[in-house]
C-alpha cells in the first residue's frame, strides 16, 4: 500500500475539501489500495510510481470497471487513487456513488484542454455503512 507521504509527493493526496462528510475522512486509511493512471494525462515522470496495484487506462475505464472495480466495490473497504482525465473521473465517480463511495480528495493538476478535459488527482473511498463496515 502506498503511504500518504508518497501520495503527497505525487500530488495524489490533497487536503480534503470542507464539504466532505466526516465519515469519509474517518473511513479513509493512510494509503490507497490501488492507483489508476491515465496515460493521456499522467506523464513520464510518473513512470516510477508504484502502488500495490497500478491500473493504466487510456481514458476509457470500461475494462477497469468490468474486470476489477465492479466486483471490488461490492465489498467493504478498498481505497482507490488516481491521476486521470476529468472525463474518466466523472465516470468513476458516478459508479463509485452507486457503491457507497465518494471522491474524498480532488486536485486539478492541469486545466482543461480544448476538449474540456482536465488532469485531476483524486482519491475515492468507501463512505456508506454498507461498504465501510467489515
Amino acid at each position: 500500500m502506498m503511504d500518504r507521504r508518497e501520495l503527497l509527493k505525487w500530488g495524489v493526496a490533497v487536503p480534503v475539501a470542507a464539504s466532505v462528510p466526516a465519515a469519509a475522512i474517518a473511513a479513509a486509511p493512510d494509503g490507497v489500495d490501488a492507483l489508476v493512471l491515465d496515460s493521456r494525462v499522467a506523464g513520464a515522470e510518473l513512470a516510477g510510481l508504484t502502488a500495490p496495484v497500478t491500473h493504466v487506462i487510456d481514458g476509457d475505464v470500461t475494462a477497469l470497471w468490468y474486470h476489477t472495480l465492479d466486483a471490488l466495490w461490492r465489498q467493504p473497504g478498498f481505497v482507490l487513487g488516481g491521476i486521470t482525465g476529468s472525463d474518466a473521473l466523472f465516470v468513476l465517480e458516478r459508479l463509485a456513488v452507486d457503491r457507497g463511495r465518494r471522491v474524498i480528495s480532488r486536485k486539478e493538476l492541469r486545466a482543461s484542454d480544448a476538449g474540456g478535459v482536465a488532469a485531476i488527482s483524486w482519491v475515492i473511498a468507501p463512505v456508506h455503512p454498507s461498504v465501510t463496515k467489515a
Partner: protein
C-alpha cells in the same frame, strides 16, 4: 441547497424521513446536501440557477414490499416520488426530478437478474440491473443470447427502455421499449400489478406474449408517471454465429434519396442491423469556404454540393452496413445489398469490410482493422457494454434534442436546412449542415441530433444553450418533427408540441393521472403529465 417537498413544512418532512428510515433502514435514506449531490443533473444547463430541480431526499428500498411501503408513505404525506433505476439518464436530466422537493426513489438495490432463457430468448430483470450486470450474467453462464445495449452501457435495461432508449443491433431489438415484454408495477396507491400474461396467475408466457387480454397499459409506464416498474422482461437476440460489415458510397447529393430507400428495404426485411449513415464531405467542414457553403442560409443547391464533392474527390454519402447470422447468410445478404444498390445508383461503390465469427476478440471490438473510415462503434454494435464514449464527451456534458424524422432523404435535406437556419442566431458550433447524416437508432424512423455542451464555469454559454434548446424544439415541431425524449426542464416544452386536436392526448393523460394519482405521488410532470394538484 435544502428544499422541502411541495406543501410540506419542515416538521412534517422530518416525520416523513423518520417513517422512511423505519421502512428501509436509516442507512438508506439521505437528505443532506452532500448526500443529494449525486442526485443533481450533472449535465444541467440550468445548474445553480433558479430553474434547476432539486430533490429533498433520496431513499433506496431493498425489495418490492419496501417500494410499496414508500409509496404508501408518500401518499400519506402527499410527497412526490421520482423513481430512478440507476440514474444514468445523462443528457436527459440524469437523476433529477421534475418537481423540486421530490423524494428520489433510487431503485439501485433491486438488482437481480431474475431469469435469462436462451432457448426462448428473453430476460426478466429488476430496475437496478445494469447492462453490464446483464451482460456479465449471460457471459459467465455461457448463455447463447446477446443483449442490445446503449452507449454508454452503465444504465439499466428497465430505465433505458422506459425512456424509449435504443441500441445498435438488429431492428427488432434496437427499440428497447419495443423489445420489452411484461412488467410488474407498483401503482400510486401502493398496489402491485402485472401487465400482459403476468396478470394470469401461473402463466408461463409473461416474457413471450406481451398483451394478455384486454387493453394493454404497458405503454403508460414509458416516459410516464402512472407507476413504478419493479420487474420487466426483454426479448433477446440469439447469439449470432457471424458478423459482417460493408460500406457503400454514392457520388451525388441526391443519390441519398435512393440509398435510404434501399436500406429501408434491407432493414425492414431483417437483412441488416443498424445502418450507420455518414457524409465523407463532413471531413471538409474544417475548410471555411466549404463550411460556409454547407451551412449557408437556405441550404446549398445539389449542384453546388456535387461540385464540391467532385473537387474533393469524395463521394457525397456513405452507409456502413452490418449483418448478423450464419456466415453464409451474412455473405448472401451483403452480396444482395451490393447488387441491389449498385445496379440502381450510377457511380455507387461497395467496399467489403471486416467479417469474423462471434464472439469478437478484444481487437475486433476496438474496430481498428476496418479498411475504410467507419462510423460504427463496434462494442455497442455487438451488444458489449462500454464506457469508452465518455472520452468524447467534452466540457461538463451536454443536453440532447433528437427530432424524429421520416426515413427519407428528402426529409433529411429539409431538416438540415430548417434546423441549421433556425440555430444560426446562437453562437454555437453548427450541428446541422448539408453534410449532416441521420441517426438510424429507432427501427422505423430517422433522428437528427442537437447536443450542445454545457459548461458550469460559463453560465452565459449555458443560457445560450438553454434558449437554443427551446427554440429548436419549437421550430422542429412547426415542421412535424417532435423530440423523442427530453430532460425534465424541457418536457413541458416538448409535450406542448404534441398538440393535435387541442392537446387531446395530454388531456387524456391528465384524466388518467387524476383518476389514479390525483395527488401526484409518482413523478408529477414527467412526460408533461401533471395531476390536478399541480395544474393549479
Amino acid at each position: 441547497m435544502a428544499v422541502l417537498p411541495p406543501d410540506l413544512d419542515a416538521s412534517a418532512f422530518a416525520l416523513l424521513l423518520e417513517e422512511l428510515r423505519g421502512a428501509v433502514g436509516a442507512d438508506w435514506v439521505w437528505s443532506s446536501d452532500d448526500d443529494l449531490g449525486p442526485y443533481r443533473d450533472s449535465f444541467s444547463p440550468v445548474w445553480d440557477t433558479a430553474e434547476e430541480r432539486h430533490a429533498s431526499a433520496a431513499v433506496a428500498p431493498a425489495d418490492v414490499p419496501q417500494v410499496q411501503a414508500i409509496v404508501r408513505l408518500a401518499g400519506k404525506y402527499k410527497v412526490p416520488l421520482f423513481p430512478i433505476s440507476t440514474g444514468k439518464n445523462y443528457g436527459y436530466g440524469g437523476p433529477s426530478p421534475n418537481v423540486s422537493g421530490s423524494v428520489v426513489l433510487d431503485l439501485k438495490r433491486l438488482n437481480q437478474v431474475l431469469e435469462v432463457d436462451d432457448k426462448r430468448n428473453f430476460a426478466l430483470v429488476e430496475p437496478g440491473v445494469s447492462y453490464f450486470d446483464l451482460y456479465r450474467h449471460i457471459e459467465e453462464r455461457g448463455l447463447k443470447v446477446m443483449i442490445d445495449c446503449p452507449d454508454p452501457g452503465w444504465g439499466s435495461p428497465i430505465g433505458n427502455s422506459l425512456e424509449r432508449g435504443i441500441g445498435y443491433t438488429m431492428p427488432q431489438f434496437r427499440d428497447h421499449f419495443g423489445a420489452s415484454c411484461g412488467m410488474e408495477v407498483v401503482l400510486p396507491n401502493g398496489e402491485l400489478m402485472r401487465t400482459g400474461m403476468g396478470a394470469l396467475p401461473d402463466a408461463k408466457t409473461w416474457q413471450e406474449y406481451r398483451y394478455g387480454f384486454g387493453p394493454d397499459p404497458a405503454g403508460l409506464f414509458a416516459q410516464g408517471n402512472f407507476g413504478i416498474v419493479t420487474k420487466m422482461g426483454f426479448r433477446l437476440m440469439p447469439k449470432p454465429e457471424y458478423y459482417r460489415t460493408g460500406l457503400i458510397t454514392v457520388p451525388r447529393r441526391r443519390d441519398f434519396v435512393k440509398l435510404v430507400e434501399h436500406v429501408n428495404y434491407l432493414s425492414d426485411s431483417s437483412m441488416c442491423g443498424e445502418a450507420v449513415y455518414g457524409s465523407p464531405l463532413s471531413r471538409l467542414m474544417g475548410d471555411s469556404q466549404f463550411a460556409a457553403l454547407a451551412t449557408k442560409l437556405g441550404g446549398p443547391s445539389d449542384a453546388e454540393m456535387d461540385a464540391a464533392a467532385e473537387r474533393a474527390g469524395l463521394p457525397s454519402w456513405q452507409v456502413d452496413l452490418q449483418f448478423f447470422g450464419p456466415e453464409a447468410t451474412t455473405k448472401a445478404n451483403w452480396e444482395y445489398a451490393k447488387d441491389r444498390i449498385l445496379s440502381d445508383i450510377p457511380g455507387a461503390k461497395a467496399i467489403d469490410g471486416d467479417h469474423f465469427p462471434l464472439p469478437a476478440t478484444e481487437e475486433q471490438l476496438l474496430n481498428t482493422t476496418q479498411p475504410y473510415q467507419t462510423g460504427i462503434r463496434r462494442a455497442g454494435a455487438l451488444g458489449v457494454p462500454s464506457l469508452g464514449i465518455w472520452r468524447i464527451v467534452g466540457d461538463d456534458g451536454h443536453v440532447g434534442f433528437f427530432p424524429v424524422l421520416p426515413r427519407s432523404g428528402e426529409a433529411v435535406f429539409e431538416a438540415q436546412r430548417v434546423l441549421g437556419d433556425a440555430l444560426k442566431e446562437f453562437p454555437l458550433r453548427p450541428f446541422f449542415s448539408a453534410t449532416t447524416a441521420p441517426l438510424y437508432w429507432h427501427s422505423h424512423c430517422f433522428q437528427l441530433v442537437f447536443a450542445p455542451s454545457v459548461k458550469r464555469s460559463d453560465p452565459d454559454h449555458n443560457a445560450i444553450v438553454h434558449r437554443a434548446m427551446k427554440k429548436v424544439v419549437a421550430v422542429a415541431a412547426e415542421h412535424g418533427w417532435g423530440d423523442y425524449r427530453a430532460a425534465p426542464i424541457y418536457q413541458d416544452d416538448v409535450a406542448d408540441t404534441y398538440s393535435f386536436n387541442n392537446h387531446s392526448l395530454r388531456r387524456f393523460h391528465e384524466q388518467l393521472k387524476d383518476a389514479i394519482d390525483p395527488d401526484g405521488i409518482i413523478a408529477p410532470g414527467r412526460g408533461g403529465v401533471w395531476p390536478r394538484r399541480f395544474r393549479k
